[in-house]
């Protein structure tokens, strides 16, 4: 145990800012739910109606958790925030543990530390203490923020501490993962999988067999039932689980070499596959993980929007703000889905921009130079990345449209929704590519400024949410490429704006590629 104190001070200096952001983010997650729910419904009768509609929606329950006391603010907060809060706390724990154990070993810094006056288990213990402390602070902040709403103190405390204990357990499982693998990435893979399985188990359990929810730490947290006959004993499960997993991590640790993992690093192929022979082949290989991840994520996002079904009227109540933001044009249901499509498209632009900035990462990392010194021309190198960006964006949009349509069809039983809601998403390819085209232009002309491309996304987001509400000047709204398209299905589809916006996208991208061919590389 020698050296734990010194390591703790050192970790705290490296981590305090990052941990602070995590804690504030988690607090905001819970607190914003409380505040927004409080303002959403004018009367309790309206609230009861919305709650009844939510309770009957299996998709919501699978996503969030067991439906309890949904006609109270506290019940809503726990329902909407607890599963995601547990996941976020788990991720924070995973990164903190990984950062101070496996990442240190992989980089070789750990060896340097261990050569000092530091006990064998000290790095492990210090990492665990840091993760536990961060989760405790986050949980207490959550509790305090809920009390300030004001909500019942004991229930608020249970909501916060339940999240803390969940974070502890995931910290301990991450510590186990850190003993298994040699690379930090693989460790995050295993630790992340544990969190994902915990989430999915309780999702299936909550809509089907309750037994499965009892296999999940997130299920234990939600079984504490804050704000609806609170009980503390499931917290014991979380704490006991933490102790068991931490012990297991220690037992594994003493069996392995420093720097090594219990699972051998899987060797990769000694020869490249046939596809790895062109600019496109390499760009696809580099981006495929991100394309697949975004495609799955956006499908699920679409699914969750779609599964709200046609009950949107009951859910939003008559609150003017909600109406203004969620339903901008046309009748309630069509207006809501037009906004949902826009929202999905703007999120998809996040993928498109980051994909368009990938060549910059490659160039910055010095991996462009050896390639451009081969027979691969500049245009072919960048063109490969452009092709992956365009195809990937299309794939991500198709997935979100499909999710939206399928989710809606599942709830309403109307199969036509797949086409009616799914197809309009495709028209959004044009404005999304304007944003990534802007990123490419910046990269081609002034790579140092390439990150400014994100400003385009922020602008589009602000215009969508607040354009009408804040009566932003028309020219500012016109700057968002999304603002020119018809709000399908609330409005009829118009071809011309899509074509014009698509041409702008092509022009931006072409200008960026031309500029790239003329500038210094590296």
């Amino acid at each position: 145990m020698t050296g734990v104190g010194g390591l703790l001070r050192f970790h705290l200096r490296r981590d305090w800012l990052m941990a602070l952001w995590w804690c504030l983010g988690l607090t905001l997650l819970y607190w914003s739910q409380a505040v927004s729910v409080k303002g959403l419904y004018a009367t309790q009768a309206e609230f009861d109606k919305a709650a009844a509609s939510m309770e009957g929606n299996a998709a919501f329950i699978a996503m969030a958790g067991p439906a309890r006391a949904l006609n109270t603010v506290g019940g809503q907060v726990v329902w909407q925030a607890s599963a995601f809060g547990a996941i976020a706390a788990g991720l924070m724990s995973m990164f903190l543990i990984g950062r101070h154990t496996r990442a240190e070993e992989e980089s070789g810094r750990d060896e340097l530390v261990r050569s000092g006056v530091v006990g064998q288990q000290a790095p492990l213990v210090a990492a665990m203490i840091v993760a536990m402390a961060a989760n405790l602070v986050a949980g207490l902040l959550v509790a305090l923020s809920l009390m300030s709403v004001p909500l019942d103190a004991a229930d608020s405390l249970a909501t916060g501490l339940g999240m803390t204990f969940c974070g502890w357990l995931f910290a301990a499982t991450a510590l186990v993962a850190a003993q298994l693998t040699q690379s930090t990435r693989a460790m995050y893979g295993i630790a992340g999988l544990v969190i994902a399985v915990a989430y999915v188990l309780r999702a299936i359990g909550d809509v089907g067999d309750p037994f499965l929810s009892w296999l999940s730490p997130i299920g234990w947290y939600q079984a504490m039932h804050p704000f609806s006959r609170l009980r503390w004993w499931p917290a014991v499960l979380l704490i006991a689980g933490t102790a068991v997993a931490a012990m297991a991590a220690y037992r594994l640790f003493v069996r392995r070499d420093i720097g090594g993992g219990l699972l051998a690093d899987r060797p990769g192929p000694a020869r490249a596959g046939a596809a790895l022979a062109s600019g496109f082949g390499l760009a696809w290989r580099l981006q495929r993980g991100s394309v697949i991840g975004w495609t799955i994520g956006m499908f699920l996002g679409g699914l969750s929007y779609g599964s709200i079904g046609n009950d949107i009227g009951d859910l939003v109540g008559d609150g003017e703000f909600a109406q203004d933001v969620l339903v901008q044009k046309g009748d309630l249901v069509d207006g809501f889905y037009a906004t949902a499509i826009l929202m999905l498209a703007i999120i998809a632009a996040g993928f498109s921009i980051s994909s368009a900035l990938r060549p910059r990462g490659e160039e910055d990392g010095g991996r462009g130079e050896p390639l451009l010194a081969t027979g691969l021309s500049r245009s072919a190198w960048l063109g490969g990345h452009v092709a992956v960006t365009v195809l990937g964006t299309l794939l991500v949009l198709v997935a979100s449209g499909l999710g939206l349509g399928v989710g809606n069809a599942m709830v309403t039983g109307d199969g036509g929704a797949v086409v009616r809601l799914g197809v309009p998403v495709l028209a959004q390819l044009a404005p999304v590519l304007v944003l990534s085209g802007l990123a490419r232009l910046l990269y081609g002309v002034a790579p140092r400024l390439a990150q400014l491309a994100w400003v385009g996304l922020v602008l589009a987001f602000v215009v969508m949410l607040f354009g009408e509400l804040l009566r932003l000047p028309q020219w500012l709204q016109d700057l968002s490429p999304f603002d020119h398209l018809a709000m399908v299905p609330a409005e009829d589809f118009r071809v011309v704006p899509v074509v014009v916006v698509a041409l702008v996208a092509v022009a931006l991208s072409a200008a960026g590629q031309l500029a790239f061919r003329r500038r210094d590389v590296g």
Binding site: G268, P269, A272, L276, A277, L282, G366, L372, A373, G375
Partner: protein, 305 residues
């Protein structure tokens, strides 16, 4: 085989903002030679190479590579050369073997037999992800990809800075056999012994300008030989020669350094005194290098002051 230079650079200028990285640099590399490209850090070696590869655009001067314009004909010219950067960055999630194949294929194909041989000689595990490679191993990946390609020119920017001496010997062996097969090599290096062993001709650059160029033998004319001798009578007048430096006489022992131009005169004086033993150390590039910059730096400081 053409006899026109493989690389021809005249008065090359490249500026980055207000910094003049290359200031009228000249470089000529003839076919079939290993040309050592020497200079201290920041002298402009890598910048020159990047201009030659068409990665950077020249501001002024003439640059010809393999008879073409390195900026305009970049991709076509690159099929005829292979480049190994000083600090090799690889794709973390590709294995070493995959990176070798990728680089080779984009260059127009690899000699399979040589590839297998090089992987074995360099003791490289091609199934490991590049993430877990050390600097030396990343360099080996680039070297295997370059040396297994069928090209006319190798451009090597400090290619052995991460290799251990055994691997360095393997590297030298392959560069020699590449040259013996008619290939041309531009070898930028800090490891002077390497240039001494491999280099046919050398260009020394400093602050973006070529300060010396020629064969190693030619350059040695500019350098000093160390002489240590035991004589019957210490010769008088040795200290009077202009080319003799650091003369130390200790009884019968005489030690001094002499400019190559005055070597003959100095030896005649020595022989007149009756030589019992004699050791002479030929100038190493290292000394030449040190003297080159060692002598000029104070001057420069004076100029600036």
């Amino acid at each position: 085989m053409t006899t026109s230079p493989v690389i021809e650079v005249h008065g090359l200028v490249k500026t980055f903002g207000r910094v003049r990285a290359l200031d009228g640099l000249d470089l000529t590399v003839a076919p079939g030679e290993v040309h050592g490209f020497l200079g201290p850090n920041g002298a402009g070696k890598s910048t020159t190479i990047r201009v030659l590869l068409g990665l950077l655009r020249k501001d002024a001067g003439e640059v010809r590579l393999l008879g073409g314009d390195p900026w305009r004909d970049a991709a076509a010219l690159h099929r005829r050369l292979a480049y190994v950067p000083g600090d090799v960055s690889l794709w973390p999630n590709l294995t070493g073997g995959e990176a070798i194949d990728l680089l080779g294929r984009l260059r127009g194909g690899l000699d399979e037999k040589r590839r297998a041989e090089l992987v074995e000689r360099f003791e490289l595990d091609p199934t490991k992800k590049a993430r877990s490679y050390s600097k030396g191993n990343r360099q080996k990946v680039a070297l295997v990809a370059a040396l297994a390609s069928d090209v006319e020119l190798l451009v090597l920017d400090e290619p052995t800075s991460g290799l251990d001496p055994i691997m360095e010997a393997v590297f030298q062996e392959y560069v020699e056999s590449f040259r013996d097969g008619g290939g041309t090599v531009l070898l930028s290096s800090h490891i002077l012994a390497e240039v001494e062993r491999l280099g046919d001709r050398v260009s020394i650059i400093r602050a973006g300008r070529t300060v010396e160029t020629g064969t190693l033998a030619e350059l040695r004319h500019l350098t000093r030989t160390s002489i240590s001798a035991e004589v019957d009578t210490p010769p008088a007048g040795l200290g009077g020669l202009t080319g003799v430096h650091d003369l130390a006489v200790d009884g019968h022992r005489v030690r001094f350094e002499v400019d190559s131009a005055e070597l003959d005169a100095a030896l005649r004086l020595l022989v007149a005194g009756g030589v019992r033993t004699l050791t002479s150390t030929p100038p190493t590039l290292e000394e030449m290098f040190l003297r080159h910059y060692g002598d000029e730096l104070p001057e420069l400081a004076e100029e600036e002051a």
